[in-house]
């Protein structure tokens, strides 16, 4: 692989229930999640602003639900904040999107555009005609899809909204974001359960490495929705901790970043994605994690070099157990300290990208945040680490991240 380019993280944009901002806001929260949470003044959410249909499934926000329904029990990190803490404050979102622009943008598109802009600002970049975009999502704009269907079901053919229809296709967030930041390179939307954010960042990093892509905005987004949670819980029979939000990274070739004097927030040394045997929506039994080996090999690392791990544990117990077994199979007794932020922030496609950004912070600071949200105590770690994601259905994504 001669001529492979190195991939630098130069910007971070995060928008979720607990964090709004760039790399500094993320670092502050990672250093002490409890301090940031109390500074925000606790619960601040009402039902989402754009739920216009009258009480149809999916139209109500997560906050409309009895407390506790979102709560993850058992699994990794049983300590979870109150459910309302996993929904993005409408006022904060409104503050990031211009009113005229908001009229034609669904809420999940607004989350995406806002986080993408935060990331570009964090990287010190404006619009760039060659900018690439990779968006990972699990559910897309399901709320608009439901609203579109409800229009017909309540009023017949004239109840169908042409304005909503484009939102029923999952690339609507990428489309809105490309327009908002004038990204005219290649635009991808990758859809997969649980690990869409990790996959989007891995795909983007691979493109830069190979010299196909220059600067890329890569990340993930999902919004909370009652229908999703109700159905997902029935399907997985597991108290998965759903949340919402968007997180984007600005990735660029290291030489380009150095040439423009960009601040370096970490390096993606290697990434791999593969499939482990599992039926759709189900966990598998195998632990043959060739994805880990491939990512390590591409990064020029061995398992012994890995000092810490971010995992996709989210309170979905069978899946969490499978991921843990997979890691054990590769690292044995020497499994490094690990953490997932899903129990605190809720599972959503933005989280995978946030984990990569957090991994950059860990590699530079030598600190791994606590897996217990009620504690502010970070663990001291060293060396490069992995961001690891394993989804029901078998999609497996691994990124090696260094300072």
């Amino acid at each position: 692989m001669n001529g492979r380019r190195r991939v630098a993280i130069t910007g971070v944009g995060v928008l979720n229930a607990a964090i709004t901002g760039g790399s500094a806001a993320l670092a502050a929260w990672l250093s002490d999640p409890t301090a940031v949470a109390s500074a925000r003044g606790g619960p601040c959410q009402g039902p989402e602003p754009s739920a216009t249909s009258s009480g149809g499934p999916g139209s109500a926000g997560a906050s409309a639900h009895p407390p506790g329904r979102l709560r993850a029990r058992g699994g990794v990190g049983g300590h979870v904040g109150a459910p309302h803490s996993r929904v993005v404050d409408p006022e904060r979102l409104a503050g990031l999107i211009d009113g005229g622009e908001a009229r034609r943008m669904s809420r999940v598109c607004q989350l995406t555009v806002a986080a993408a802009r935060l990331a570009l600002a964090d990287a010190g970049l404006g619009g760039d005609a060659g900018l690439g975009l990779v968006v990972g999502t699990e559910f897309g704009d399901l709320r608009s899809t439901v609203e579109f269907a409800d229009g017909f079901l309540s009023r017949g053919p004239t109840g169908l909204s042409p304005l909503l229809f484009p939102n029923t296709v999952m690339n609507t967030m990428a489309s809105a974001t490309a327009i908002a930041v004038q990204a005219r390179g290649s635009t991808l939307t990758l859809a997969v359960p649980a690990v869409a954010g990790e996959l989007a960042v891995a795909r983007a990093a691979a493109g830069i490495e190979a010299g196909r892509l220059g600067t890329v905005l890569a990340g993930g987004v999902d919004q909370a929705g009652e229908l999703v949670q109700r159905v997902a819980r029935r399907i997985t029979r597991s108290p998965d901790a759903y949340g919402e939000g968007a997180a984007f990274l600005v990735l660029e070739p290291l030489d380009t970043a150095l040439a423009r004097g960009a601040r370096l927030l970490g390096e993606i040394r290697g990434a791999a994605w593969r499939a482990m045997p599992a039926r759709s929506c189900a966990v598998g039994r195998g632990t043959d994690a060739r994805g880990i080996d491939e990512a390590l090999e591409r990064a020029g690392l061995t398992a012994a070099d890995i000092g810490w791990l971010y995992t996709s544990a989210s309170g979905d117990e069978p899946r969490d157990t499978w991921e843990a077994a997979t890691l054990r199979a590769r690292f044995g007794q020497r499994t490094p300290p690990l953490v997932s932020l899903a129990p605190v922030l809720g599972r959503h496609a933005g989280l995978g990208a946030l984990h990569v950004a957090a991994a950059g912070w860990t590699a530079r600071s030598g600190l791994l945040p606590s897996s217990t949200p009620s504690s502010s105590r970070a663990r001291v770690v060293a060396g490069p680490g992995l961001v690891h994601g394993l989804a029901r259905g078998g999609t497996h994504v691994v990124l090696a991240v260094d300072a």
Binding site: R103, R104, R155, T158, G159, L160, S161, P162, L163
Partner: protein, 91 residues
């Protein structure tokens, strides 16, 4: 039905179907150009106009003839309300 009433109905459609902020919809003057690309205009694009025509058909019980060029009628709230009044009257 008078054009004044139709303008008010149209402002309601701007809020409910085109998702305008109520204050912004109320501030649209009858003469303000609606289409995108006109300075000082409201900035509606093709998708907005399709949504608007469906909403008008539904609200006023009229049918827009797609084989005709309707663009002149959609120039402003004034032209649009006159068009709707004429069509409701069956002329």
């Amino acid at each position: 039905m008078e054009t004044k009433d139709v303008v008010e109905e149209l402002r309601g459609i701007f809020v409910n179907r085109l998702r305008f902020d109520p204050a912004r919809a109320a501030a649209i003057e009858p003469e303000t150009p609606l289409p995108k690309g006109v300075d000082g205009g409201v900035g509606l694009d093709s998708l907005d106009f399709i949504e608007l025509s469906i909403a008008i058909e539904e609200r006023f019980g009229i049918v827009m003839d797609e084989s005709q060029d309707l663009a002149p009628h959609f120039a402003s709230l004034q032209t649009l309300s006159r068009f709707v009044v004429a069509r409701v009257a069956g002329t």
